[in-house]
Structure formats: C-alpha cells, structure tokens
Symmetry: C2
Subunit: 479 residues, 2 copies
C-alpha cells in the first residue's frame, strides 16, 4: 500500500498552504506545464479536455442567443491600437510587439492582440452601412497575449485562451440589453455546468475596462475566501464608434453612431473549478464538465472474469453516452483510486471477484466518497442518477460556502478587522469616491469587486470616509 499513497502524499494540504496546494494539483492532475517561454503555459490533455467541455457547452448557449463565430487576425497595427485613447493607455504597457517579418524590419510595429476591440471596430466600420446590417453579434475563440510579470497557472499568464464577443447595435438600449444578456449567460453557465455560484454586479469606474462606459462582472468565491473575477461584459456606448467612425443610416436616412459591447471568459474558469471544488485528494469536477465522468476500476483483475465484467460495464457506460474510461493498467487498485481522484473523475465503479459473482458493482462519488452498491445491469442508469445528484450537491455546497463567507461591515474598524480575520466577501456601503477605494486597497489589500445588481442599503454612510453612502459594494481580496 506504500505505493498507493505516493501520489497524494506529494500534494500539500489546502489548509497548510493553499497556493502550494493549487500548484500541486495543477501539476499532479497533469492539467498544465510550464514551457521555456516565460509566462506561457502548456495546457496538457487533462486540462484541455476541461476547456473543450466548457467551450462546447458555452458556445451552444451563445448560438442559441444569436451569436456567430468569426476569426480576426492575431496582429494589430500600432496605429489601429492607438485610435481609442483610454483603450491604448490600458493595454499598450502590456503587449508584445512584432517588429520583424521574415528577413525585413516592419515599417510599423504590430502588437499581438491583447484583446480585439480595435480589429472588430475596423471590420464593423466596413461592413455596417444601414440599419438593415444591425445588429452584428460576433464572437471568436482564440488566444490573447498580455505581457505579465508574475504568472500563475490558469489565473494569470502571458498568453491565455478565451472567447471574446463583440457586438454592434442601433441603440444604446439594445447594447445595454446585450451586455446584461451575456453576463446572465455566463452566470447561468457557471452555476449549471461548473456548479459555481456567482455574484453579479457592476464594476466601479476605477475597475472598469479600458475604453468602456460600464463593465459588468461575475465574481466567484474560492475555497480560501479570495474572490476570482470570472467573466466580464462591457458596454462601450458609442465611444469606439466615434473613434473608429462606425455609422449607419437609420430608417429616416440619417447617419447614426452604433453602440457596442464586448464580453469574455477565459481558461481562468478552470482555475475557478480547481479552487472551488478541489480538496486534499486533488481535483474534483462536476460531472457536466468532467472529461472523464466515470472510470471503471477492476479489483483483483487477474481473477477470471473480472476484467471481462469491468469491460462490460465500461461498454454499457459508453453506450449510454457517458464519458467513461477503464483502468486496466498493472497498478494496484489503491493507486488507481488515488489517480482517478487526483484527476477529478466524478465517479468510479469498482468491480472485484465477489461483486461480480453477485452481479453487482460499487459506485463511489468523488466529492463525498459515498459508496453505493448497484446491479451491473443498472450501472449506466445508476451512474447517471448519481451524477445528477452530485452536480446539484456540488452547487449547493458551493452556494453554502459563498453565503457563509459574506460579512457585512458598517464602519472602517469592523471592515479592517473582517478583512483580517474572516476570509470572504465583505458587503459595505460606499460614497462613490475613488479615493476611498484606493485607501481601502492600501490599508487592507481588499478591492471593490462589484456593486451587486441586488442593491440594499445596509447603512447610510460610506464605510471608509463616513460621507453619505451611494452604493452597496462587495469588497474582497482577489486573484
């Protein structure tokens, strides 16, 4: 049994050092690896398969909402990036520049896209002429580059995978509607598929996207009580339209500027999955997003009939459309159990000689370790039922964790004490002044996460300066 434990012993415990635990899981579950390119990561098959599941299901929701996919160039000429002032100020310091193509020095530097607003604007200025051409609701799945100094797997890297939606509309109302619609799609996807509850709200001006009129966000709470901004949706108003001259003739034949939005989620969501659901045995994935939903592990597999029975179970799972695997390697059962747990496989089916004779097998849930005996003939159906229960239980637990990690603060002493002593979100009133945001950040390292859609007045005065309060804000330390 010494070997059986080796895999898990190499993981740091979450409570001992959460940061190290996270890196251990990423490495041991073979999700990601470092490359020789500073700040750039390799997403290995176990990690990429999660991304494919996210991508497929989110893309289906996009398409139901009328989104069309496109692909725009990787490069942005410097002059194009500079067209919108706030935008270039936000991004120029962190982009990678191509200066040579083939054997020639380029007449103009090209940046590797950090985001593609400028390219979409250029396209829209060409293809949008009349109100008949509106709206355009485009999206692309691609990688972007932001030259980061400090990086962490899935959370912050110089290159990462994401989707970026960019839309143009005839009216401000329609743009605002689309901004919220996409945020809602993100939030319900995260709840229903990733089993991660989200706080939805609006960013303060200080925290909004470079060039946006308003930025909306979904914020999740990690196991350690830190917040993770998990997706954003921006309303640009007509700012970019004016900078890029995107106009259309309306029904009265008058020229009007379009109104625009953009919205994105990234491989950060994989980081959220790890930090919301993982435990000291490794990754734990909700069945809806798990690359392997059920793994079949034969016990005493050299005993006659065991392997055949295991294969029969595997075949019936596959036939039922369940993402299944079977571990026929010569490792010990204990080792196989640990390995499947490390990789976050939702359920394992154990089958040994005695089970086999009784026509039964044992199903073990990854999240609770609850065991259930079941007839071999019912295995697919039973797994499907248990996966449904597991999916819903995981969301409930994550919701309970979130709820129990939200504290209210009414004055600055209470605020500082809470940041210090109680990990999680802090709800507190704010006067609307950026100075208070800056002070809170300097004093506590907590930042304003969002002004939640569900506003409440829990006090009259700003938690920081004591002046009249305007908004309820969720504050927290964030990744």
């Amino acid at each position: 049994m010494a070997q059986d434990k080796k895999l898990v012993e190499e993981i740091t415990s979450m409570d001992e050092d959460f940061t190290k635990w996270y890196t251990d899981v990423v490495k041991k579950a073979e999700l990601m690896d470092y490359s020789s390119v500073k700040g750039c990561m390799i997403i290995r098959p176990n990690g990429y398969a999660i991304w494919e599941n996210i991508q497929r299901q989110l893309d289906a929701r996009f398409k139901e909402a009328g989104v069309e996919n496109v692909y725009l160039p990787l490069f942005i000429p410097e002059s194009l990036l500079q067209k919108e002032k706030d935008h270039v100020e936000g991004f120029a310091p962190e982009v990678a520049w191509v200066t040579q193509g083939g054997l020639e020095t380029l007449p103009e530097r090209l940046c590797v896209r950090p985001t593609s607003e400028t390219l979409f604007c250029e396209l829209y200025s060409k293809i949008v002429n009349s109100y008949r051409d509106l709206p355009k609701v485009y999206n692309q799945w691609c990688s972007v580059v932001r030259w980061e100094k400090t990086t962490r797997p899935f959370l912050r890297s110089s290159e990462f995978l994401w989707q970026e939606g960019h839309t143009v509309h005839a009216t401000a109302e329609e743009a605002e509607q689309r901004t919220i619609q996409m945020l809602d799609i993100y939030a319900s996807f995260c709840e229903e598929v990733l089993a991660i509850p989200m706080i939805k709200g609006k960013k303060t001006d200080k925290e909004k996207f470079a060039g946006a009129e308003s930025t909306y966000t979904i914020e999740a709470l990690m196991h350690d009580g830190k917040a993770l901004q998990s997706g954003t949706s921006h309303n640009f108003g007509d700012g970019f339209a004016k900078a890029f001259d995107i106009q259309y003739t309306d029904k009265e034949n008058k020229l009007q500027y379009v109104h625009q939005t953009s919205w994105g989620v990234s491989t950060r969501l994989i980081g959220a999955l790890i930090m919301v659901h993982g435990d000291d045995s490794g990754l734990c994935l909700p069945p809806a997003v798990a690359p392997v939903q059920v793994t079949v592990i034969p016990v005493q597999q050299r005993k006659e009939g065991v392997l055949d029975a295991a294969r029969g179970i595997y075949d019936s799972l596959k036939a039922a459309g369940i993402r299944a695997s079977i571990d026929e390697s010569d490792k010990s059962p204990g080792w196989k159990f640990s390995e499947a747990e490390m990789r976050g496989v939702s359920l394992r089916v154990e089958i040994g000689p005695r089970d086999m004779e009784a026509g039964k097998c044992v199903i073990v849930r990854r999240d609770t370790r609850a065991k259930e005996e079941c007839l071999i003939s019912d295995v697919a159906e039973t797994c499907r039922r248990i996966m449904g229960e597991m999916q819903s239980d995981m969301l409930s637990r994550a919701k309970a964790h979130l709820q129990s990690h939200i504290s209210d603060a009414h004055d600055y002493e209470e605020f500082k004490k809470t940041v210090e002593e109680k990990p999680g979100f802090i709800r507190a009133m704010w006067c609307g002044d950026e100075a208070c945001e800056l002070k809170i950040k300097e004093d506590t390292t907590a930042t304003s996460r969002c002004m939640p859609f569900e506003q409440e007045k829990i006090d009259d005065k700003c938690v920081c300066c004591g002046k009249p309060a305007k908004k309820l804000v969720y504050w927290g330390k964030a990744y």
Copy 2:
C-alpha cells in the same frame, strides 16, 4: 427582376477568369475579408461556420483514433527553433519576430509559431521517460504565422488556422503506421465529408517538410485543373529526438530515442471546397459540411398563411436535426434564391400560396437545380434523402472530373505539350534525380505533386532525362 440578378452579375464567370471568379465568390459569399494587417484575413461567419463543421467532424475522427488535444504557446524562443538544423533553415526566413514585451526589449527574440515541432519536442523531452509513457498522440487547433509575400484567401495567408498533430512512438514501425493512419483519416474525411477525392502519395525529397524523413500528402484537383496540396503527414524518424534528446528506457531498461510524426490540415480545405464544387452562381457546399443545409424561402409571403406554412417547414427541419434557415426578409424571392445559391446552401425549399393549398412545397438542389415536389408533412425526410443523394453525386462528379484530368506522358515533348494543352495531373516516370524535377519546373512550372501509393510502371525511362525510371510521379501546376 433587375434586382434579382444583381448579386450574380457581379461574379466573374469561371471560364473567363478563374482567379477572379474565386476572389469574387470569397467576397460575395461573405466568407472572408481583408484586414489592415498585411497578409492577414478576417474569416467571416459564413466562412468560419464551414471551418467549425470541418473541425468538429475531423476532431471526432481524431478522437476515435486516440488523439488527445492540447495547447502549446504561441511563441518559440529563437534558440529552441534553432535546435534542428533543417527545420530552422526551412522556417526562419518566413517567421514573424517578437522583440519587445511590454516596455522592455526581450533578451531573446521569440518567433510567432510557424508550426510547433520544436515546442512539442521540448514538452516530450520532459514528459517521456519510460516505454510506459509511449505513445503520445497529441494535437492542437490553433493559428500559425508564415510571413508570405503574396497571399490569396484561404490558400496562402500570413496567418492561417489549422490543426497540427505531433506524436512520439517507441519504434520506427509504429511511427510510420501513425503517419499513414492520419493521412488515411484525412483522405477519407475529404471524400466522405467534403466530397473531394484525393490522390495519396509520398513527396519527393525536394518537396518534403523541413526536418522530415518522409512526407506524405493528399492532393486534390481543382476545377481549373490545378492541384492543391490539401494535407500532409510527416514521419520524422528519430532526427528531432536526437536534436532534442527525447529518450525513453525500454523494457530491457536501455535508453532509446523516440520516433516522431506530425500532420496537419488547414483552412486551405475551404479553398478546395470552393474550387472543386463552386460554379458561376457561387459557392456549392456538400450537405455534410454546409453551415446551412436547407433554407426555406416563402414566395408571395404576404399572402395569408404562406409565412406560417414556411415557418412550419422550418420548424420541422430543425426538429429533425437539419441545419436550416428561413428567409423572411422583404427581398424578392429571386434575390433570395440567388443569395442562397451564392452562399452554397445545399437545398432550398420554396413554398407559395398554391403549394400551400395543395399541402406541398418544392425542393431545389443547389448542385443540379433539380426540383422535386413533396408533401409538407414529408419535407424533413425528403430533404434528408435528397441531401444524401447530393452528397454522393457531388463526390461522383468530382471523381469523374479528377479521372478525366489525369493524362499519361511518356516523353518530354508529350509532357510539355500536355502541361500546355490539358489542365490536370500528368502521370510520368521519374529517375529519382532532383535535377529533373528542377528542369521540369523551370520549363513548364509543373511540380512533382507526389509518388502515388499505387505505383505502376507506365514506362522504363524518366520522362525528363531518359535514364532508367524509378518511380511513377503525379505532376501538375499547383496552388
């Protein structure tokens, strides 16, 4: 009716100017657009949807063949690119270089990946240790950059989308097997899904990939008689393994070098679809890959009941899992027909007041324009049958076109005359000497496309120099 014809009149006829026809189709079918980044294209929704259909179906075939998807960095440090001599010589002249990250000048230039052999080698050298770790069969879907001087939509651009598979194996035999297996998957995918027959064969040394031991290719014939290299599969032997020190301990505990392969297809396949199946009305897509398989067009849609009947048909097509659309715009029916034809929609269903009263509609095939009346209640089933017939007819026609454009040449005069007068492939014997390939290219612009797997001895002597012949070669002008 003047308006109805406008859309098609703007297309150059194929026979008049094939190159211009191609560009017109790309533009009018809204597949692609130029960007302000030299040589980089924008793939618009109609074009990208074709790529998604290719990607989804090819990826499913990959997964059945044990392929796992990953994602590797966009950048390659110059020193890494230089590790394999032939490889760097092949690619260095055409790569884009990143020299600045954020506000700093980088200590080492990074090239934007033109292909990722070197990055995969670096990864494999880290994760492959024992024979138990083999094989690894990885693939990634991404974009690559090659700094091209002259570009053409989908056929040659500075950035393009593709997939690149990279595998490592214990033995030379297994690597060779995988090289051929993936070529076969490409060829059967192209036949069964894209309705494009392929000539399979091996590239001559002159035409093989930089760093490969052998390169296999699938070559298609376009409508104008020119060849298009549509996919390649390379066996690297242990050359890269030695350059990157990728070794494993075998069952006898001895160190061995791995054997490697790589293989790829790209958005070029969309170019092939256009040039094999298109006609003077625009794009014509086989149903298996068409973004819209059936479009419903109401005729006299303001007459009572027509629009409802059209919507009913649309709903029943959707319910049957057919990729359907409905054109309710206020354009004339003729205009809608032209537009659907331009975009390559496989079938259109016409429904007018008289059809409606008879409980019928008319189905029109895009490829033959054959019309068939059918009961509204049978529309989904009938469309499915016709799509099956169309898919198979399109392949048959493409096969017939290919067969009728293969000529044999026995001496150099015949060869030159055939290149001049008869577009298509020329089969001719070759001595194996690169000098003859160069001479043929200089004299005729035709190049060796491949040495087909099905070798025949159609003559004793080389078609160029007259020395004893070694191989039958397919020659042709190529894109």
